[in-house]
């Protein structure tokens, strides 16, 4: 199928994502606009308004979720679908032709945002004429979206795509609506699930303690020393949802390797396993709290145990799928599970970072807000690097003064962009003062070693040596270290930013700076030196200024 009969669609591999940059930029614009509206305005008050018109507008988050569900179902084919509706010779389109629509979109969006502000705040006029305001809100919203769509592609392209892909669109609307409705129905299942979780926890605790306290009405269970309330959100549905999503995506991605329908059995097995383990998590919470560590139970364990269980179950299932022949479409030959060069590279470059994350999660789970066992992260990174030491000999570890300058510049940007309101790590001075000065000094020294040496090495190997090449080719050894491409540069830097949480803008910029350090001479040593310099200067800044929150 082709929209333009005179244009031959090229092979999928020949289409670069970068050809779609005007469309990608417009999608980013829409995303920013939607984020601005959803963050700036709260619809909760509208949902209880007396007018049905106002209530309908108050449901707008549900419309957005419905649209996202339909769009995801429709667009997941990605490049294949795009190839069919957008012949590559016309992908970029005429920039001049889309400018009027872009200008109209800007005006429509400003009007829509203004109307949303007035409507959502309410007032006499809105209360008197709710239907009129609702109609105006809907019209400006529709105009905003329509002008955006026409800026992305001309109307002839949309019309042709709607006609040609009508079956897919109809199926996607039906499936997306089902998915959206399922999300609503799931919420109704939380309370009964919480009751079952409560029953399991109470039964097991009754075998462990003679004086178990339980209140079925409040779903409160525990001992006289420590007890918990099993809220509906704590019932296990989050773990079930996560593991089902993970397994479903895994089965979908690797469907050619798997035997169906047998592999579908993994979905219910995974859901039941993680639900039972959530009950075990709550039991452990009570046991830890009752045993004299209530701060650990309510602190690190409570927040990290769910992730630990999810990772343990997810990775165990991946191992079961690959090691047990029942789920595989074809029996593996013995040589297929032997370590090869791709595995050696992946383990060597990604392993230290994964080990660091795992150590952080484990030490976080046994902490009460302050990670006294931070040194284990250094041990984990060092252990993996020692086992893979031969692989690192291939890399260029030389350093240059230019990398040092990039590190200094990144530090300056980091401090300049640091938000004032952030109060993370505020407990550090108090925790360090609570122990003997020699212990505090030892912890700080190890924290410094980790921050300035271990973390930069692990992160540069993961993001600049592994991720940057993995974006280009699944066989990372076929891509030279430091080979530039826009997708690998942008995606690896964005990923680096994601791992810096609230400081993601600084993280993205730092990731780009460290990538530039690597590109200069294709020397990993330069990227590590730039990163280490930035971190060392941040540590010095923290020691001199006392702003512990800057130490990320």
């Amino acid at each position: 199928m082709s929209i333009n009969a005179t244009t031959e669609a090229p092979p999928i591999a020949a289409i670069s994502v970068w050809r779609y940059r005007p469309q990608l930029a417009l999608m980013a614009l829409l995303l920013v606009e939607v984020l601005y509206l959803t963050i700036s305005f709260d619809t909760q008050a509208l949902e209880k308004a007396p007018s049905i018109w106002t209530v309908l507008v108050g449901w707008s988050p549900q419309y957005l979720r419905l649209a996202i569900a339909i769009a995801v179902v429709m667009l997941l084919p990605g490049r294949k679908w795009l190839r069919e509706v957008t012949p590559v010779t016309r992908v970029g389109g005429d920039t001049r032709a889309r400018l009027p629509f872009l200008a109209f979109h800007a005006v429509a969006f400003l009007l829509f945002a203004r109307l949303t502000g007035i409507f959502f705040v309410g007032g006499d006029s809105v209360a008197l004429h709710p239907a009129l305001w609702s109609a105006a809100w809907c019209v400006t919203g529709a105009a905003t979206f329509a002008s955006w769509a026409l800026a992305v592609y001309p109307h002839e392209r949309w019309r042709a795509a709607l006609i040609e892909r009508r079956v897919l669109i109809a199926w996607s609307i039906a499936a997306g609506t089902t998915v959206w409705a399922a999300g609503l129905l799931t919420e109704a299942l939380w309370p009964p699930l919480a009751r079952y979780t409560f029953a399991v926890v109470r039964w097991v605790l009754s075998g462990l303690y003679a004086d178990v306290i339980s209140d079925p009405n409040l779903l409160r269970v525990g001992t006289p020393v420590f007890r918990v309330v099993i809220a509906p959100e704590c019932s296990g549905y989050e773990g079930v949802g996560l593991i089902l999503a993970f397994l479903a995506i895994y089965l979908f991605l690797f469907r050619k390797d798997l035997r169906f329908p047998g592999a579908l059995l993994l979905l219910p097995i995974g859901a039941i396993t993680i639900w039972l383990l959530n009950a075990v998590r709550i039991i452990a919470l009570v046991v830890i709290g009752t045993s004299g560590w209530p701060d650990i139970a309510a602190g690190g364990f409570h927040s990290q145990a769910g992730w630990l269980i999810f990772n343990a179950v997810g990775l165990s299932f991946v191992a079961i799928i690959n090691l047990r022949g029942y789920f595989m479409a074809h029996a593996r030959a013995a040589g297929e599970i032997a370590a090869g060069p791709t595995f050696e590279s992946t383990a060597a470059y990604l392993g230290p970072f994964v080990a660091m994350l795992a150590a952080a999660m484990v030490t976080g789970a046994v902490s009460a807000g302050f990670d006294w066992l931070y040194a284990l992260r250094i041990v984990a990174i060092a252990a993996v690097m020692w086992s893979c030491r031969k692989t690192y000999a291939r890399l260029n570890w030389t350093c240059s003064w230019g990398a040092l300058a990039i590190g200094v510049g990144t530090f300056a940007v980091w401090i300049a962009m640091f938000p004032d309101g952030l109060t993370s790590n505020a407990a550090w001075p108090v925790a360090l003062q609570s122990v003997h000065p020699s212990w505090a000094a030892a912890w700080l020294a190890l924290r410094l070693v980790g921050y300035v040496i271990a973390v930069p090495v692990a992160e540069e190997l993961a993001f600049r040596v592994y991720a940057m090449r993995r974006v280009t080719d699944s066989d990372i050894d076929s891509v030279p270290v430091g080979a530039f491409s826009w997708p690998s540069f942008v995606i690896s830097s964005a990923l680096f930013g994601v791992f810096h949480g609230a400081l993601w803008p600084q993280g993205v910029i730092a990731g780009m700076a460290f990538a530039c350090a690597l590109y200069r001479r294709r020397a990993v040593g330069d990227a590590v030196l730039a990163h280490a310099t930035t971190n060392a200067l941040i540590a010095m800044y923290v020691f001199t200024s006392g702003r512990w929150s800057v130490w990320s």
Binding site: P61, I68, L168, W171, A175, G176, V179, A182, G183, L184, T186, E187, A231, E233, C234, S235, G236, Y237, E238, G239, V240, G241, L244, F246, L247, A248, Y250, F252, R255, L267, N278, H302, S303, Q304, W307, F310, N311, G314, L315, V318, N322, E336, I337, A338, G340, P341, F343, S345, T346, A347, L350, F353, V354, L357, A360, M361, G364, A462, R470, F499
Partner: protein
Amino acid sequence: MKVAAYVLGVSIVMLSAASHAFAGTVAPEIDPSSIAGGLGLLAGGVLIARARWRSK
């Protein structure tokens, strides 16, 4: 039929994720502040595992 089978497959994936994506509630079972670390650990583990079992 191909389109229907495809949409059905994607829908199963989406249905599995629906309780998370559309629930809109922050709950303590899975700490949202650790999402990058939690998913990063899983993704890294899967990438290493797949690299091992794919190697010949």
